[in-house]
Amino acid sequence: MAMRSRFALAVRRARISTGTTSSRAALRPLTQARWKSTASTEDAEGVAKGTTGTSKTVKFTSETYPEIKRDPKFAQISEDHVRFFKELLGKDSAVIDGVTKDATDDIEPFNGDWMRKYRGHTKLVLKPGSTEEVSKVLKYCNDNMLAVVPQGGNSGLVGGSVPVFDEIVINMSRMNQIRSFDDVSGTLVADAGCILETTDNFLAEKGYIFPLDLGAKGSCHIGGNVATNAGGLRLLRYGSLHGSVLGIEAVLPDGTIVDDLSKLRKNNTGYDLKQLFIGAEGTIGIITAISVHCPQRSKAINVAFFGLESFEKVQEAFKEAKGQLSEILSAFELMDRPSQGLVKKVTNNKQPLESEHPFYCLIETSGSNSEHDNEKLETFLEYVMENEIVSDGVVAQDETQVRSLWGWREGIPECLGHWGGVYKYDVSIPLSELYDLVNETREKIEAAGLKGDNDSFPVVDVVGYGHMGDSNLHLNVAVRRYDKAVEKVLEPFVYEWIAKRSGSISAEHGLGLAKKNYIGYSRSDNMIGLMKQIKNLYDPVSLNHSSRSPPR
């Protein structure tokens, strides 16, 4: 889930030196200055973009985080630069020029993220239509010291795909062609700017499925998905993109084309460099095309929704599900009662279960033979009911019910934003302690007197949900307004709690701008040092990308 978004190509931007501080060397978290952090809102997972934010104008990121400074080594964009790009890209529609004329309305969508949390000052958006054009654009920017931010569907949750200052936005939406599909092996080669849902629909016609699904599928780009190593709803079944991506074509900041669009599942010849680009959030180059190994689309899908009385029972149910459903289990999602209560409040839909339960789980199976699957699922359901592992449950009888049950899971992020904002933490923690973080956080917020039913309290509720199957929890604090007092309770408490258990502070959303400074909670100095070496090797000028994403 969540991730949906991530994508944005990450490559990001540039300029910006981290201001305050910390020299590059000091990115370590413990010392670092922390920006607000977290509040990243939304995870996009769920649902429609754009509905969460309220109507107030969004503050510029540079005002919200005055400690981030534009690196003076980067040049200001001039009319000469714009002329070059117009000649290079040819078409009028490929350049949105706010430098030589006023194009505020046209440019605004590229300056902000859908959570309405970040907003940059860019005046130039480029939409290259081919890998060669991307290469020429980047080379020119590198030679002329122009900072850039790669952008895909711009559905990220950590502020990775929008500019902070006047970085040039390189939007990949015009590179949206499917290059080839092999019906026998299931290998798809496609441009980075293909929209996930469109790509998946193309594959559906052929009986295949894209090995990734997430709530933002209608807007996110597959290139961005790869750049951010999006996890999503089916990771449990199809694994991480590190496994399913077979090859990558990317452009380095100096214009070099990384031509590794292999279609082979096995290729043990030297370093597997494409892996560096998966999850790099664009910091070492812009992905322009990918080749992916796509699995067969399952013909039979079943969904069941349970109510359980404790987190221990949830774990038992998960264990049984793995044991009894094994290869057909395709999702095991966790939702707590507060999260479902908020969805109910916002949507006013009829809840699937009549009584309330402390925890809810959604299980999906997908396989090739519905009778076989049904039989397995029924045996499993009978077992968990008879042994009182689950207290109640329903099974979708048709496709419409499948969708509406998923709605109770996928709709959470959107509904949480209903009151104004959400502090979002996307973390990996050992399964047995997964929910303790939510309980402890809620206790702390309550003890601080921040949570209540009316406008005088900033916090609406503290909820937990996520991909149980991947030990990935979304700890979300729905708020009526972003408030320093809430932040103080949350941080560094949450990060320290996770670090103590050797968890990850960003399981699937990436670091982006929001979490870049906290990498030290999840990675050692040694590891960060090695990452910096790679960054400096491929992007010595630090053109793309900036300070936000991993190490610099």
């Binding site: 078409k91 009028d92 013909k299 039979a300 899908i301 069941a304 929704f305 349970f306 009829k350 699937p352 279960l353 009549e354 519905s370 029924e378 359901l381 009978e382 009911m385 689950v390 109640d392 449950g393 329903v394 099974v395 979708a396 009888q397 048709d398 496709e399 419409t400 019910q401 499948v402 969708r403 049950l405």
Partner: protein, 258 residues
Amino acid sequence: MSALRILVPVKRVIDYAVKPRVNKAQTAVETTGVKHSMNPFDELSIEESVRIREKKSAPGGVEDIVAFSAGPTKAQDILRTAMAMGADRSIHVEVKEGDDLEPLGVAKLLAKVVEAEKSNLVVLGKQSIDDDAGQTGQMLAGLLGWSQATQASKVSFLEGDKVEVTREVDGGVETLRAKLPMIITTDLRLNEPRYASLPNIMKAKKKKLEKKTLADYGIDGTRRLKTTKVIEPPPRQGGGKVEDVDGMISKLKELGAI
């Protein structure tokens, strides 16, 4: 007031969310390997019958709710669903795939079932989403000589075996009043069907599912209509893209629009 003995005919159809495709021979819609579910209008019929019992809205109470389906063996799946939603028992008449009954055949069969089960209320979907014929309920009422109220959006019970049915019509609602026995066909606004819960799915396995044949009811299922060909509707003409405003103007001129 007499206790209700409700008959709810249900049909197994291609799932509402699946896009149907014509088979290669162009003789029918492809059904193998396609997800099937209960006809959505029939879910409403089951739900309404169960609510009549749960809400005790009928003064005489509900004595029996029987779900009935004529179709291939797999139609038993949806009968189990109907029982998980609250039907007391069910009857399945095996009809081979491809030998589907026509609305008149179904109506004649149902008339026999009504007689055998002593039903005094039949609640049907207003149409099945595969054939979209929308005729069975009306034909059944004609064969039985009963009152009918079609496309119900609300059903309530009055004294003296009277039933009041509200239906949505163009420009408003129409309220009909009739006496049992009667036929009601259901429309989307009537209710929101429940999910089949785990405990009820398990209970449904123990409920009675009777297996019958057309011959048991003395019905001849031979079709009177012949399907000569099934084809997809012509694809929608795609739009064209123009490069800029000038392009659009010249295109519009070309088309004679301006």
